[in-house]
Symmetry: D2
Amino acid sequence: MKERLGVGMVGYAFMGAAHSQAWRTAPHVFDLPLQPDMAVLCGRDGTAAQAAARRLGWAEAQTDWRTLIGRDDVQLIDVCTPGDSHAEIAIAALDAGQHVLCEKPLANTVAEAEAMAAAAARASARGVRSMIGFNYRRVPAIALARQLVPRLGQLRHVRASYLQDWLVDPAFPLTWRLEREHAGSGALGDLGAHIVDLAQYLTGELITGVSGLTTTFVTERPRPDGSGPGPVTVDDAALFSARLGAGIVASFEATRFATGRKNGLRIEVNGERGSLAFDLERLNELEFDDQTQELAGFRRVLVTEPTDPYVSAWWPPGHVLGWEHTFTHEVADLVSAISAGTDPAPSFADGLQVQRVLDAVQDSAEHESRWTAVPAA
Amino acid sequence: MKERLGVGMVGYAFMGAAHSQAWRTAPHVFDLPLQPDMAVLCGRDGTAAQAAARRLGWAEAQTDWRTLIGRDDVQLIDVCTPGDSHAEIAIAALDAGQHVLCEKPLANTVAEAEAMAAAAARASARGVRSMIGFNYRRVPAIALARQLVPRLGQLRHVRASYLQDWLVDPAFPLTWRLEREHAGSGALGDLGAHIVDLAQYLTGELITGVSGLTTTFVTERPRPDGSGPGPVTVDDAALFSARLGAGIVASFEATRFATGRKNGLRIEVNGERGSLAFDLERLNELEFDDQTQELAGFRRVLVTEPTDPYVSAWWPPGHVLGWEHTFTHEVADLVSAISAGTDPAPSFADGLQVQRVLDAVQDSAEHESRWTAVPAA
Amino acid sequence: MKERLGVGMVGYAFMGAAHSQAWRTAPHVFDLPLQPDMAVLCGRDGTAAQAAARRLGWAEAQTDWRTLIGRDDVQLIDVCTPGDSHAEIAIAALDAGQHVLCEKPLANTVAEAEAMAAAAARASARGVRSMIGFNYRRVPAIALARQLVPRLGQLRHVRASYLQDWLVDPAFPLTWRLEREHAGSGALGDLGAHIVDLAQYLTGELITGVSGLTTTFVTERPRPDGSGPGPVTVDDAALFSARLGAGIVASFEATRFATGRKNGLRIEVNGERGSLAFDLERLNELEFDDQTQELAGFRRVLVTEPTDPYVSAWWPPGHVLGWEHTFTHEVADLVSAISAGTDPAPSFADGLQVQRVLDAVQDSAEHESRWTAVPAA
Amino acid sequence: MKERLGVGMVGYAFMGAAHSQAWRTAPHVFDLPLQPDMAVLCGRDGTAAQAAARRLGWAEAQTDWRTLIGRDDVQLIDVCTPGDSHAEIAIAALDAGQHVLCEKPLANTVAEAEAMAAAAARASARGVRSMIGFNYRRVPAIALARQLVPRLGQLRHVRASYLQDWLVDPAFPLTWRLEREHAGSGALGDLGAHIVDLAQYLTGELITGVSGLTTTFVTERPRPDGSGPGPVTVDDAALFSARLGAGIVASFEATRFATGRKNGLRIEVNGERGSLAFDLERLNELEFDDQTQELAGFRRVLVTEPTDPYVSAWWPPGHVLGWEHTFTHEVADLVSAISAGTDPAPSFADGLQVQRVLDAVQDSAEHESRWTAVPAA
């Protein structure tokens, strides 16, 4: 019999549902060293939390996340709340000796992120693990891309964009994601965090400086409670250029106003010898070009072979995976790391570093786009 | 509390794993009227069945499917075995008053399929339901395509192909899928069944006649037990043309030798006013062309909107689904039909009709491709 | 100074305009061994022919093609008329010692095609050259594909389709292309001829037998002269399967009712080790898959490199060519062969063989699709 | 008989060959109001110029462009030289009463461009016309896109990139295009000029400010004369963000180091109601998305219908055009404007404005990417 790993999840909206699917599925698909137990779901509205627990497969519901901290049967806290509560919950859990999986962005401010990274470092010294949920690292095509990057030779360009369009309608309401005090930023933190992480993950280099531009197209929206219009206090779109490592130049764009692009995360890396390109809307495919070969050209690699990362646990070639599988992979890797006594990646320190990049973009955007260095760790 | 629906599954290989994922997931994603209970998995090898039950989430394992027939706590039998045992298991279950979900093709022979359809008709009269697993009907893009077909006006063309390449290597062993006594046929039954069903489902018309051509490229392969080469007794590829309803002409191709095509099911329908095209390797997309509009052209519809079939139960726009989700949808629809007291689709009669089409193709192929009528029901 | 090659063109409609562009352009792009002189254009309507000559760049216009036969300043006759006059014109020219370029299909009947091939053989013995205008052989991507076919290993599959949609509207008038006495057949001869030639050209194998199905969706159309409806006497669509050489199976479809497909000639070849795919609507691209490599997948080869066939005469990489360039290449190759004293390809014999395949398809379609052998040369 | 328009072309390399093809072709495809006469080609090397004139179809060759100025039989000067000689030639011709077609970028410096625009204004007052060769405005798909932009509603985003890869190899020699004194700038002027013009042309808005970043990856290259390495004095890549009109944000990237991208000019425009996307490597296609329709999605519009801009002069639907056709369209429009007595677009003033944008990018790049306003005309 496998050892049990009790899990408590805070938050049960979009991310909570995705994480629940992962916790339910991972033990049946991967040969996990520990047996996750979906012990308790936590949400502020008791009735809703109860219903969510039943629907999503959690044994129990609570309304105060503090009741989960230090609970004997909860070895891991999965933080799926808005960014403004990440720090408090994650630090409390880590300090209480509970492993933490925290959704991105790590926090709403660099200060909070620093406190979280410090708590993670303290915890790690005591064998307590933490991980930030940059789930797209675990798309099989992205994991394969990372393996291939050395074949590209010296890297020259990254172009990354994350395009959505759900704010195009000015009548869309003023939800928490559009308020700075809850969300920290808009497209920049929500979408930009993903592409900053991917660019750094794939190239193996850190962003050293940025020049940024942000804009809010629709500055006022109806409040959800019907109390009239309120101000949008986050960016609708963020564009920035950057330098990574020694010599790579990169362009980034994150927006919620790219009409017709629903979840359009695209990233391309050009190196001396070849290139890679990826599109999240076709996440089973990786475009790879080796210009040292005759008949060069971007080939569409269907990343569904048993030799591809994560794939052997699933289906035969050509039987494609979906978006949610990234969370199942995340959970599987996290559980393996916990069992192995190693720190999983990406770490809170990685999340902090991404936060510093986003902060530099914001700072540059507020100062005439002037070049802004990203502080080293 | 919801009423329980005890499920027993026979077979636990590729299809068994896919069905298990569906049974585990459906109750957490869809609001099912009954509560499926994964009661028992059945497989001939006791140790392996036990391990599979644990891994796939079934409460118990058995080695003889007969022990499941009539069992009080098993209201539904899910048949995931090779085609040569479908008839015996399904008929026994139906006659014992147990609902049946049976993988495709319905059976290896028309005679068996007729017996199964007769059993299903008898059962239906007593409120016992049966369904054949043409899971691709439940790809959201296919379900949407069906809704759109009336907008195409009078239909003219269907072209359907199901291209795989896993037999290209002559060293690939002689598994049961390559032996007529177990599999009935090769690419024709395994892959052709899907595209025949889809062509008829989408057009709403039946195939009335066919002209067929089959071939076996590699006629001898090594036996898996190391006892030397044995004869391949099924087709490696099958091509056929057909007429559907009054005036539609169609081409079909099923093959396991289309090098580079992993799970390439493609279907295109042309009507007087527009066209539809679908590719299973990009199953979240539907190509739709309305030639009555200015600026006509195939548009790539990302079928991930909440208004699209099945999608609202899952994720926001652009967050794509995978191949396995078709089984979750299948299970959800089946459970709903059982609860509602209606016969789910596709029925065993639908499966029988597809079998008759495949039989006519085989017959034509054995008689110089001459035109062969498909007997009416 | 280069030796002059006087050209007389018969017909000045769609094909005449395309050939004129080729004759005007080839000497400026390719280093031709002879200097083509656009001497005379011939058309039955004097005024129209005169205007066409001026517009298309011909020095003179005539109304009777017989005046061109044997004319001292006309060394080559370019036949761009409907198929029912090909034989008479081409044979007269060849017998008079004039080289002939003849549009496809070679003729409307096998008997005519045989007479033409015989005339071409007689002429060749006297140093007089003939060529049939299967222009798609001279798309750079197709010419490259032919070079790559040996890398695919033993060939298994060809699937070829030529999809257009200009007859979808039942009000489209009854032009000569829809009358058997002028056009010979419909989609079969017009479009099917191209894909039969390409399939044989690319594989290097001949079609040995076929099973065919033809249909006419709209059986009556308005006469262009306003005299009311008349019967459509050719096929609107033709589907056929075939065997090539020893062991290749192939599917073909030619139609003018594939709504949304404008000039959709697609051909795919699968071999043991890889595959090729081509789409005329994206004629600068070739999809190539080498499954013996790691990271296999169809790569999009942009066939615009200086090492690609015909390309070095044109523009730098990525500066794409168009449909009309195939005729310029055709003319350049023809002039080179004439100068070199060799027979250009494709020959009238090649055209005759394609005609025999189409004839066998027609015959099969009229006899319940039964398998029909294609007579050897 | 049409009035004659004598043309003299200066320069006969890549652009000269493309312009020659246009001058040769336009009168046979379009019904031009004047008859262009390819009178004289001018190049510094007499033997080479003579050979080029013969090959490209010009009646005569000269070695000094000054001999063309004011020549009675030359009404139009076509400037195809490197950027450092544009101003001198164009101004001399305009002042002598000769119409001018000038390749882009208009000049190497804003000062030169201002002088040219002033000369063009003076000339226009006397009925002498001038045009800058932003040929991509005359891709049919781009011309169609411009017509469609009003349907997108309020514009939000432009993303434009022009990606090539011909400098990836560090052994590529130090040609004039890599020297600031001849080329003015690198990717920025050569490629960036095109996308700046297209972004402004499509949106109908001017760029008001920019933030730029340029880089030179390979700072030294072998001199073509074998005299050892020399310094690269232009940018290899330029990235910039911009604002257009009131509220549009845009990202631009021009590079010669995007491995695998041969002539990858892509531009996307997002508006409140829909989007457009274009890729020069597939220049017969326009992607259009109307999100106010049900079944929204980017549709692939094949821009080959007789109703599409320029297309009716060419071939039937689906018979695709190539890159060179843009010059034929340019020439046709220019000749029509000359005959009509109107100023053609894009004008030298348009070229100057693009130059100011590029200058601002350069300036920003040299000052820590800080936001830099583009001076108004």
